[in-house]
Symmetry: C2
Subunit: 117 residues, 2 copies
């Protein structure tokens, strides 16, 4: 799959132009955050190799880390089977979360009793 094929494969219509995008650490495999891309922010991401999102609250493009320095270097981009979700593996230059946590998913419930695996 190349860049052109990826852009064509993503179904931007389903979510009103926005596609949920999962950000995962390329090395640790930790899931860091979820944000939204529109077609133009996906193109910007493909062009400059750092993550670009569309901020639903500020209604503007958002180049992750442009202010904080915590940019995310893109290593892989995957699209799911029905084309409505993206997965981007990155090498982060700092915490993904505005709270300073490495990941936005820092509040967790453990179900370790579910050991029937």
């Amino acid at each position: 799959m190349n860049n052109e094929e990826l852009i064509k494969t993503v179904d931007f219509k389903k979510g009103g132009g926005l596609v949920p995008t999962i950000i995962q650490d390329f090395n640790s495999k930790e899931v860091l955050m979820m944000a939204y891309m529109n077609e133009e922010s996906l193109k910007k991401t493909l062009q400059d190799g750092t993550t670009w999102f569309w901020s639903r609250s500020r209604n503007e493009f958002w180049n992750k880390g442009a202010t904080s320095g915590n940019v995310q270097i893109v290593k892989n981009i995957s699209v799911d089977c029905d084309g409505d979700t993206l997965l981007v593996e990155v090498v982060p230059k700092g915490p993904a979360c505005h709270t300073g946590n490495i990941t936005c998913f820092y509040r967790k419930i453990n179900f370790e009793e579910n050991s029937n695996e």
Copy 2:
């Protein structure tokens, strides 16, 4: 964080009752799929320890693997910083994807040239 706190923390209003939910393999750390939970499907997931979603296309609850046998045993549930996304780590009993692929994110672009890490 306990089950009650988790349910209170999740912002179901933002997405019209639905919260994007990332499913990750507990052991391999591979991201398997993304689906949507509403409050009731989160409660069902907490109760029986397998993943329950809300199907937007069929407009009904969807207990992953109930038909195929490819159930997902829940190990951890995390909520993100602003409460509008869930991350569920699971031990899957079979492929997550209806195509038979282990993950729904089987179509990938590599950016290995981005080596400035």
